[in-house]
């Protein structure tokens, strides 16, 4: 199946979501989640809880200099992840960085989903809308995701708002195509035609009859997109053009650490590892959800 690549949620190959139903692996009735899925879920829950309750946790101020110089990880009990070159707590910056990263990517993915599903369903039933939306989608996809983000940041100045707008634009095409493909799939099924023959308006047919079958693959895909958005946010922040320092962000921490890659690689590796495990976990969960939704569709 086409797994989404990190920096471009563009997916012309939406067919797998629909086609997977035929593969024998998912035809088994409700397999119990594997160890990998459970571990991923546990990690995501920890990250989510840490991000939500960041200010209640016994953490140092992410911008305070708690030690005079940088200390390596696993040497001190209180700051077991060490402190960075300015003596700021790495643990605290990771937690508050998760907060920023999640707020930005979750809100962008949600916005992108609402806009994308609306446009996709419209173009699934109306030829004219299909042409307009399709052309606009192609135009958006002509900008590599990261370039789109950078260009918006360049014009609007760095910060959270252009990030959210950019990431939303970045996620809309994928949701649009997925919603369009699934709308087309059910649009001429008997129950939809029945509703139409009973005189239901197009909007009503779309909301009551089509949306329920469109929303399941879309929600599973939401998770996949989320991983791509977290990576995109980290990448722009790594380039110093996303989240504005001193606000902590994972990408920013990696960029800060790169200056001393030789002396203390931990400053790069610790945030990089957290970013990697988070994206991997979301990916594992997303694939599991997609297999489940497509398996129980038919």
């Amino acid at each position: 199946m086409t797994e989404q690549q990190t920096l471009s949620p563009a997916t012309p190959e939406v067919a797998p979501t629909v086609a997977v139903a035929a593969s024998p692996a998912v035809r088994k009735p409700r397999r119990r989640p594997s160890i990998a899925v459970l571990l991923s879920l546990a990690w995501i829950v920890v990250v989510l809880l840490a991000a939500i309750f960041a200010s209640l946790l016994p953490l140092a101020d992410p911008n305070a200099n708690v030690t005079p110089t940088s200390i390596p990880p696993f040497t001190s009990g209180a700051e077991f992840l060490g402190t960075d070159q300015l003596g700021r707590s790495v643990l605290s910056r990771l937690v508050f960085g998760a907060q920023v990263s999640l707020v930005v990517s979750v809100s962008a993915a949600a916005l992108g989903m609402v806009i994308g599903v609306t446009l996709g369903m419209m173009s699934g039933v109306r030829r004219a809308a299909d042409t307009v939306v399709g052309t606009a989608t192609d135009a958006l996809l002509a900008f590599p995701g990261i370039v789109l983000l950078l260009a918006l940041g360049a014009a609007m100045g760095p910060g959270v708002r252009p990030l959210i707008i950019g990431l939303t634009l970045f996620s809309v095409p994928a949701f649009t195509r997925l919603a369009r493909a699934n709308t087309k799939l059910v649009n001429h099924r008997e129950y939809v035609e029945a509703a139409r023959l009973q005189g239901a308006s197009t909007v009503r047919v779309l909301l009551r009859e089509v949306l329920p079958s469109v929303i399941r693959p879309v929600l599973a895909y939401f998770v996949v997109i989320l991983a791509a958005l977290i990576v995109a946010e980290a990448s722009v922040s790594y380039l110093g053009l996303g989240v504005v320092p001193p606000t902590p962000s994972w990408g920013g921490m990696i960029a800060d650490g790169q200056a001393q890659l030789i002396d203390s690689p931990a400053h790069v590796l610790v945030p990089a590892f957290v970013l990697f495990v988070t994206v991997l976990s979301i990916g594992v969960l997303g694939r599991w959800l997609r297999a489940r939704t497509s398996g129980s569709r038919s």
């Binding site: 797994e3 606009a136 260009a151 360049a154 990576v231 990448s235 053009l241 790069v268 990089a272």
Partner: protein, 315 residues
Amino acid sequence: MARFLGARFVRAIFVFLLVSLGTLFLIDLTPGDPAVSIAGETAGPDVLAAVREQYGFDRPLLVRWVDWMGSVFSGNFGQSFTSRMPVMSLLADRLPVTVELTILAVVITLALVIPLALYAGYHQGSWLDRFVNGLSAVLISIPSFVLALVLILVFALALRVLPVSGWVPLAEDPIGNLRSAILPALALALAETAVLLPVLRADVVATLEQDYITLARSKGVSSARILFRHALRPSSTSLVTLMGLSLARLFGGAVIVETAFSLPGIGDLLITSIRSKDLILTQGLVMFIAVVYLVANLVIDILYTKLDPRVSVSS
């Protein structure tokens, strides 16, 4: 086929119109007076007046749009405000690095993807198949800049076999050039491999179930010949389509990887233009990247019809 390509071409033109409108709008998105954002806060009133005159902010949007498209078509992407150089010549200086990086990355990607996917698809469920599957799931979760830093750490700092950063031009020293290009290209290629490998593998599995493969096998054709001569071409339609999107990703990835390795490519130029608030340069570069992407995808559509003649009939 002519009709199919004609429709594609018309669509590409509309997409180009939208893309050019989008990049033109980039300047209007800036908060405050666009003339101030181009010339900088310190510019005097006469400079601002000159900038307004030059870019015609007082003229209607439609007129500016037609002008901008005209200049893009004639290869004139404007003039950098900080260096006073045409965007095109700045770009031409940096282009070879990014192009070389992209080509090298595509070559490495295909060299990894084709044999691995054919083998994994042929020996479904074998340990190599499962390993390759797991590896792409892991690789896909590593952002390219993290991959770049890990490669630097391993090959340049720990093993000390390759340079940490910097660029040796091809004309100066071909070996040194390859040594400076291989790590960044590998960082790009590994990320790309993770995307394309599962796609080709799935298509190979589907192709191998076809009757003509069974026929070839019963005739005693060797496995290698079946895979490379009979299965590869019909399996590669998704791969070719996705290669078009790859290009966008590689360009995007190049921006980051060039920064991580401090290579003087287009990505580095883009970042520099944004840091120095050189909006005209940013706009020109973004437009250039989008045009390259559009042209490449048009070429891929043509290739696609060659690869699978059914495409032009069914559409």
